[in-house]
C-alpha cells in the first residue's frame, strides 16, 4: 500500500450507510458477479443531489448507466459511514472502484468493516479537508508518508498514520491477519 492516484469525489458531513447504499438495494447477491455490479451502480446514490460531488453538487458518483465510478478517492466531512452496520457500504465503494476514503472521523462499524474486509482504506485526516478539494481534481495519497496531495492545486495535507490497524490493512483483511497471528 504505497500510492493511490485518481480523481476525487467530495462529500459533506455525516454520510450515512443509507446514503452510501440505500436499504432497498441490499437484495442483490454479493456472491453473484452479474448481481454484485449493481452495488457499484447504486453506490452513493442515496446522497441528496445538491450534496453529491461538492462543491458544485448534482454529480453522481457512478453514472446511472454505468457500473463503475470514475472516482478513485473520496474526501468527506466528519463521521463518514454512520448508521447501519451493513458491510455492503464499504463493499459497494470497492465494487464501484474506490480505493480510499479520507475523513476527519468515521463511524466505527464502517471503519472496521472497511479494514477487516480489506475493501478500501479509510484514512483519517487531521482536519476537515473538503474545502481544499473539488470533485474531479486529480489526487494522490502517499501511504508511506501519510499525506494526500491535490495534484490540481499542488497542495499537500497530512493524514494520520493507520496505527493499530496498519497490520490488518497490510495483511489485506481480518482473515489474513488472523492467519498470521495464529488465530486460525
Amino acid at each position: 500500500m504505497s500510492k493511490i492516484k485518481g480523481k476525487v469525489f467530495v462529500l459533506g458531513d455525516n454520510i450515512d450507510t443509507d446514503q452510501i447504499i440505500s436499504a432497498h438495494h441490499l437484495v442483490y447477491s454479493l456472491d453473484k458477479p452479474e448481481e454484485r455490479i449493481f452495488y457499484g451502480r447504486f453506490c452513493l446514490s442515496g446522497v441528496p443531489d445538491e450534496q453529491s460531488g461538492l462543491p458544485q453538487g448534482n454529480i453522481p458518483f457512478t453514472d446511472p448507466d454505468k457500473f463503475e465510478s470514475e472516482f478513485t478517492i473520496v474526501v468527506a466531512g466528519k463521521n463518514f459511514g454512520c448508521g447501519s452496520s451493513r458491510e455492503h457500504a464499504p463493499f459497494s465503494m470497492q465494487i464501484a472502484g474506490a480505493q480510499a476514503v479520507v475523513s476527519p472521523t468515521y463511524a466505527r462499524i464502517f471503519y472496521r468493516n472497511a479494514v477487516d474486509g480489506g475493501f478500501l482504506i479509510p484514512y483519517e485526516s487531521l482536519e476537515d479537508l473538503t474545502e481544499n478539494f473539488s470533485t474531479h481534481d486529480e489526487v494522490e495519497i502517499d501511504g508511506v508518508e501519510d499525506t494526500i496531495t491535490n495534484l490540481t492545486t499542488g497542495k499537500t495535507y497530512p493524514l494520520k498514520p493507520l496505527g493499530d490497524v496498519a497490520d490488518i490493512v497490510n495483511a489485506g483483511g481480518i482473515f489474513e491477519f488472523a492467519k498470521k497471528a495464529g488465530m486460525m
Binding site: H24, N79, R86, D164, A181, M183
Partner: protein, 435 residues
C-alpha cells in the same frame, strides 16, 4: 476497570485490560438476520470451506426480521439461504418466517428468548445489537466479514473502548420516557459524540427504569457513534433474565476506581419532551420549540419504539380520542403483538383501542423503520412528514428521500397523532401522569 473493560478482560482470559488495548475475545452469542445472514454465510464458507461447521451451534442465533412481508423476490431468496444453512448446520436457534417460531425484530426477540445475559459478549450483524447492553453485557454491531470470522472461530479482535458515563439524578417525571433522555443526550454530544466509545447509563433515574426503558437508552448509542451502551445489572435485570433462561451468568460491575473518558450529570426533574428534527438524530429540539409543526403520519414501532411499554404509553394518551393522522402500529415481536390483544388499559385491550381509532395494525417486523422494498408496511413513499418512535431519521431512511421524519417518544407521537401537529404529551396524559 469499567464494566465494559471488565467484561472484555474476562472474555479474553486476562486479569486486566485498559481502554485502548486490543484483544482477542471469546464470543458468547453471534446473532444475525435475513439481510446480513446470507453474505455472512458466504464469507464463512469461502474462508473455512464448503463443509465447515459453525464453531458452536448453541451460540449462533438467526432471527429473520427485516424484509419479511414483501413480494420482493430477492428479499425472499435471503430467507431461503438462511433455511438451507440452518438445516445443513442443524442450528437450534432459528426463528423461521411463516412458522409459529417466527419472532420479529431481533433486538427485542433476543431478550425474550433469554439470549441477553449479564457479563456476556454478544456480537450481531446489525448496528442496534448495542441494545443488549441494557442487560449489563458487552454487545455491539459488526459487519459480515467479522461475523463470518466468528462463525468459524468463536473469537474476534476488539479494541477496548473508553467509557462515557451519563448519570440521571432523581426521579424521572411521569411525562418523560427513556426516548426523551437519549434524544437529549444525542442532541448534546452529537451524532459522532461517542465515536469509538462505550456509553454507560447510571443514576437512580435510570435504575428505576424497567428493562424496556433501559433498552431504549442502549439501543440508540449507535446514533451517537457509540460502540456499545451499558447499564450495570441489578435485581430488575436478574428477574427479567432468570424468567427466560437458566443460563448460568456471572454479573460484573464497575470498579470503584474505574477510569472514565467523561462523566455527565443530568437532573431528571429538568427533563422535557424532546424530538429530533429531520434529517439527523442529533438535530434536537424540545417539543415546545417545534409545537404546531404540521405532520401527515404517525408511526409507532421498531426495536426502540415498538415494545410493550411503548404501546401502553401510546394507549394512555390515545384512549377516548380521535386521530387526525394516519397512524401505523408495528409491534416489534409476535409476542408483543399477542400481548396487545390481552393487555388492557382502562378496561379495553390495547389492540381494540388502536384498531378502534383506525390505526393500521402491522405484523411484527422492522417494517418501515428502514424503508425497505416499496410494498413495505408503513413505508414513506412520497413527501410524508412523519413523527416516529424509531431511531433514525436520515434522508430516505424510512423510504423516500423527500419524506421528513421527526423522532420522538411514544407519548409525543401519540399526542401528535391526535392533533395532526407536533404536540406536547403533557396536554393529553391522564392527570396522574401529566403533573
Amino acid at each position: 476497570m469499567t464494566l465494559t473493560e471488565k467484561i472484555l478482560a474476562k472474555a479474553s482470559g486476562k486479569t486486566n485490560l485498559d481502554a485502548g488495548d486490543n484483544a482477542w475475545v471469546d464470543v458468547d452469542i453471534l446473532m444475525t438476520h435475513d439481510v446480513c445472514g446470507p453474505p455472512t454465510i458466504g464469507i464463512f464458507k469461502k474462508h473455512f470451506g464448503k463443509d465447515a461447521k459453525v464453531w458452536d451451534k448453541d451460540k449462533v442465533v438467526i432471527i429473520p426480521d427485516h424484509y419479511i412481508f414483501t413480494a420482493d423476490k430477492y428479499a425472499n431468496r435471503n430467507i431461503d439461504i438462511l433455511r438451507d444453512f440452518v438445516e445443513e448446520q442443524d442450528l437450534p436457534h432459528y426463528y423461521d418466517v411463516g412458522t409459529s417460531r417466527y419472532k420479529g425484530v431481533c433486538h427485542v426477540a433476543m431478550p425474550e428468548e433469554g439470549f441477553t445475559r449479564p457479563g456476556n459478549v454478544l456480537f450481531g450483524t446489525d448496528s442496534h445489537t448495542c441494545t443488549a447492553g441494557a442487560f449489563g453485557q458487552f454487545a455491539t454491531g459488526i459487519g459480515n466479514t467479522d461475523a463470518g470470522f466468528i462463525m468459524g472461530t468463536g473469537k474476534l479482535w476488539v479494541k477496548v473502548p473508553e467509557t462515557m458515563k451519563f448519570i440521571f439524578e432523581g426521579e424521572i417525571p411521569p411525562y418523560i420516557m427513556a426516548k426523551d433522555l437519549i434524544l437529549q443526550i444525542i442532541g448534546d454530544i452529537g451524532v459522532d459524540g461517542a465515536t469509538y466509545r462505550a456509553m454507560e447509563f447510571a443514576g437512580d433515574g435510570v435504575m428505576a427504569m424497567d428493562m424496556e426503558g433501559r433498552m431504549t437508552l442502549t439501543n440508540m448509542v449507535i446514533e451517537a457513534g457509540g460502540k456499545n451502551g451499558i447499564v450495570e445489572p441489578d435485581q430488575v435485570t436478574f428477574d427479567y433474565v432468570q424468567k427466560r433462561t437458566d443460563y448460568n451468568f456471572e454479573a460484573l460491575y464497575n470498579d470503584d476506581n474505574a477510569k472514565y473518558h467523561s462523566v455527565r450529570r443530568y437532573k431528571s426533574s429538568e427533563l422535557v419532551p424532546m424530538v429530533a428534527k429531520p434529517h439527523s438524530p442529533d438535530n434536537k429540539a424540545t417539543v415546545r420549540e417545534v409545537e404546531g409543526t404540521k405532520l401527515t403520519r404517525a408511526y409507532i414501532g421498531s426495536c426502540t419504539g415498538g415494545k410493550m411499554t411503548d404501546f401502553i404509553a401510546a394507549a394512555k394518551v390515545l384512549k377516548g380520542q380521535e386521530l387526525k393522522l394516519e397512524t401505523f402500529i408495528v409491534p416489534a415481536t409476535t409476542l408483543i403483538r399477542e400481548e396487545l390483544k390481552t393487555e388492557t388499559y382502562d378496561g379495553e385491550t390495547l389492540w381494540n383501542i388502536f384498531e378502534g381509532l383506525g390505526c393500521h395494525m402491522g405484523e411484527a417486523s422492522c417494517a418501515a423503520c428502514l424503508g425497505g422494498p416499496s410494498d413495505t408496511f408503513g413505508r414513506l413513499n412520497h413527501e410524508e412528514i412523519c413523527i416516529s418512535t424509531t431511531n433514525r431519521n436520515f434522508p430516505g431512511r424510512m423510504g423516500s428521500k423527500k419524506a421528513q421524519v421527526y423522532l420522538a417518544s411514544p407519548y409525543t407521537v401519540a399526542a401528535s397523532a391526535i392533533t395532526g401537529k407536533i404536540t406536547d404529551p403533557r396536554e393529553y396524559l391522564p392527570v396522574e401522569a401529566a403533573v
